[in-house]
């Protein structure tokens, strides 16, 4: 009975959204405040309906109601509570429900943000958001009903894929969806601008926090996924250029470009069309990602229970929600007149423009790499997959100039203004980078690429720190008290600096992991001692253990570094009887300088066990860097909100 209630609320939301769209199209040319108010309230209504529906589904997972198809297929009574809850979105139907829940929440948040003074634009934004919501609700109700009952109620569920029973992965999808769906807001802003035919600096100011939220969430979501892949899949890597990873990476690249170009629009009111196009593309890539993951179009470790007929439905959604705006763009974008603005070659404008050029090219490279196997399949039926070799040859060279520019661009001025410190800064940067080139050259086993990558990281790091120092000296606050640090931070916009610092740290991590990784693999038995570098490992013991819903074989190793005891490593091989699958649980001792990573393979007491060990220098910096990037995004939202409020206060006082 309760699940049916969830279904009813979903149908209610669907019907309500249809009515809202009819209402919206009817009033689109005769906008008035009353109509806006009605649409705002109904956005809240949609959100509540979907929330109830989602909570009911979560409840069904918690109580293990196996009369529901997706519960019996994805859950198990013995599963820990947290994975029962995360099981709600660990499957196609439930994750779609989460998707629309986040979408409707975003619509509600946009409609209730107080800073809007352009009602007509807001009216269009809510309309477009509701249209997308309606399409996805139709998709859920017609092809992927999460509340479908089974004819024979199983005694026990089939369990969640053990690979997904992991804390990192419990929060990876929600984070990623906030990013994906968050991009719908900037998308709707862009379509709204096309519909109303009006665009101004306020438009850019209002759209920016939404892009930043989506971007930060996307960054965190991707980082969580990569971290999970690193410790759970047992391959020792953190990024595999898998189609599904690319599907989340492409919107990120576009959102990064948009995040930068919107700054030009905000200050100079130029590149209007470009920003609109990027906003549309950002969400288009989100939808493309959804399409790729759920249609079975490309095969990947991540693919959901894929079903071609679902794929056709998403393709239709894609055509309506992206094709429509792109046609609108083609017809109406020439309406936006731009002022003629002049700027120097070494100005913020050109730097941001070059940034955008490179980021869109990078997106195109990834897109081609992802879809090329598809094209080939369509034309001659060959199935191929494109691996890291392609991306190392194409993507990496595109990114290098961006890093070069990233360190110096913050010192440029807008327009034709001269940059004061530029020459000094470049001198400092070149000197420190030369030092790092030489240092890296002396390290054993460093290649030319390692030197380039490491030096870029130092280059960027020094650039960001110099910028911070200059900002600091200009603020004229003495750092003799801790509280002054907070004043300093609140007076300066440092969101960008934090994010760029994150990139530098990320790059350092990449350098360490890619070029200085050491590896050992072989067969070892209990009592054996072996070493990589100056780390000594000893195989102490082997045990079999029973977990809550799995059986585990565990090897126990000790790790000594420079003959100092560091800790125990306990890699496991788990067998989940319900799902009849095996997972490897790598054991990792992680510290600031690097990870010792060990995977237990097949074996027995006579022959020993096959064992793989990696030492990955600086690898945790990769995720620390990504976290800093997201933190930078959040900081800039908070700081901008403050200045925004202050600005409105000031203008009120002047009146």
């Amino acid at each position: 009975m309760i699940p049916e209630l969830g279904h009813v609320f979903l149908v209610l939301a669907f019907v309500a959204s249809i009515m809202q769209i009819v209402f919206w199209t009817y009033h689109i040319n005769s906008f008035n405040e009353l109509a806006l108010d009605i649409l705002k309230k109904s956005a809240l209504l949609n959100c509540i309906f979907i929330l109830i529906s989602f909570l009911i589904l979560t409840y069904s997972f918690i109580i293990s109601d196996f009369s529901l198809l997706i519960v019996s297929n994805n859950s198990h009574t013995l599963k820990p509570l947290i994975y029962k809850i995360s099981g709600t979105w660990g499957n196609h139907e439930g994750s779609l429900l989460l998707w629309v829940l986040i979408l409707s929440s975003f619509t509600f948040l946009v409609s209730y943000k107080k800073t809007h003074n352009n009602g007509e634009l807001l009216f269009s934004i809510i309309g477009v958001q509701t249209l997308i919501l309606c399409l996805f609700l139709a998709f859920i109700l017609l092809t992927s009903n999460p509340f479908e009952r089974v004819s024979a109620i199983p005694i026990e569920g089939r369990g969640l894929n053990p690979l997904l029973q992991d804390p990192g992965l419990a929060f990876h999808p929600p984070m990623l969806y906030v990013g994906y769906v968050g991009l719908s807001v900037s998308f709707s802003f862009a379509v709204g601008a096309l519909i109303t035919g009006k665009i101004n600096k306020e438009w850019a100011q209002q759209i920016r926090p939404w892009i930043t939220i989506a971007w930060s969430a996307l960054t965190m979501g991707i980082a969580l996924g990569s971290w999970w892949a690193y410790y759970e899949l047992g391959w020792g890597g953190w990024w595999f250029w898998d189609p599904v990873e690319n599907a989340s990476f492409m919107p990120w690249l576009i959102a990064t470009a948009l995040l930068h170009s919107i700054r030009i629009l905000e200050t100079r009111l130029i590149f209007i069309n470009w920003c609109i196009l990027l906003s549309i593309l950002g969400f288009a890539f989100s939808l493309l990602g959804t399409f790729i993951v759920r249609s079975g179009l490309l095969t990947s470790v991540h693919s959901f229970a894929s079903d071609p007929s679902r794929g056709i439905f998403i393709l239709i959604i894609l055509v309506i929600s992206v094709g429509g705006p792109l046609i609108l763009y083609a017809l109406k974008s020439s309406l936006f007149r731009e002022q003629k603005v002049q700027f120097n070659l070494l100005s913020k404008e050109s730097a941001l423009l070059i940034n955008n050029l490179f980021f869109t090219t990078a997106t195109a490279t990834v897109l081609i790499g992802t879809l090329y196997p598809l094209f080939l399949d369509a034309f001659n039926g060959d199935k191929i997959s494109i691996g890291p070799a392609y991306y190392n040859a194409t993507f990496a060279p595109i990114m290098a100039p961006i890093i070069l520019l990233m360190a110096i661009a913050p010192f440029f001025n807008w327009g034709k203004g001269k940059s004061k410190n530029l020459l000094k800064i470049i001198a400092i940067l070149i000197t420190t980078s030369l030092v790092s080139v030489i240092t890296l050259y002396t390290i054993d086993g460093s290649s030319i690429f390692a030197i380039i990558c490491g030096s870029l990281s130092i280059w960027l790091f020094v650039g960001v720190v110099s910028d911070l120092i200059i900002k600091f000296t200009e603020t004229k606050i003495k750092l003799n008290k801790v509280s002054n640090l907070f004043i300093y931070i609140s007076k300066n916009k440092i969101g960008m600096n934090i994010a760029h610092l994150g990139v530098a740290i990320f790059l350092a991590g990449v350098t360490g992991e890619q070029f200085f990784k050491t590896e050992f693999s072989g067969r070892k038995n209990i009592g054996d001692t072996f070493s990589i570098g100056n780390r000594v490992l000893e195989f102490k013991n082997f045990e079999t253990i029973n977990g809550p819903n799995y059986q585990s074989e565990m090897g126990i190793f000790t790790l000594h570094h420079n003959s100092k005891f560091i800790g125990y490593l306990k890699p496991e091989k788990r067998y989940y009887p319900t799902e009849q699958t095996q997972t490897t649980e790598a054991a990792i001792i992680s510290n600031f300088l690097g990870d010792t990573y060990i995977v237990l393979g097949e074996g027995n007491y006579e022959t020993g066990w096959s064992i793989r060990i990696y030492f990955n220098p600086l690898v945790s910096w990769i995720w620390a860097g990504a976290f800093l990037m997201a933190l930078g995004g959040v900081t800039s939202i908070i700081q901008n909100k403050k200045t925004f409020n202050n600005a409105t206060k000031v203008s009120l006082n002047e009146i």
Binding site: V150, S151, A152, F291, L315, L326, A330, A378
Partner: protein, 188 residues
Amino acid sequence: MKSKFSITNFLPVILFSFIVIISGLVLYKLRSSSSPPSNITSQLIGKKIPEVPVKLANLNLNINNEEFLNFKNYQNQLFAVNFFASWCAPCRVEAPLIEDLSKIIPVIGIAYKDKDIDTKKFLEEFGNPYKKIGADSSGKIAIEWGVYGVPETFLINEKGDIIYRHAGPLLYNVFKSEILPLIKNKNQ
């Protein structure tokens, strides 16, 4: 207001259509090549009935009930074992067909994870087609029988071998096309 149409503005939509068309083609190919899912097969087909004792359901609600089901009593002919539960909606759906089946061959019911009083109410409402009813209050018997879920029906021949198993509610087409032919074969 006059607007100029420049071809560059159409470039994104043209590229987009190209990607959509290709994806559509691949999907179309995938769709025509996908195969239907296979039926659940039981490990127990062709094997003897599991030797786990089944307590009789205590429908009179006596305090001490220590009687056990004896499958041997029925083993001179083909008979059916049907796992059901009062809380299971599909079991209500299949009740009329179990009734029909019981007119042709003996049917033994096993109430899965059910209270005796609820089983009794269920039988009062839907009729009692069963020769005897066993109780599997802990669900252990169902595990021994390899039951996927309730309802589930087994056919057992005179040697005590399981010859057929159907998971899910008995539907008319299954009854007609799978169960009736088996019964006819045995009778010939």
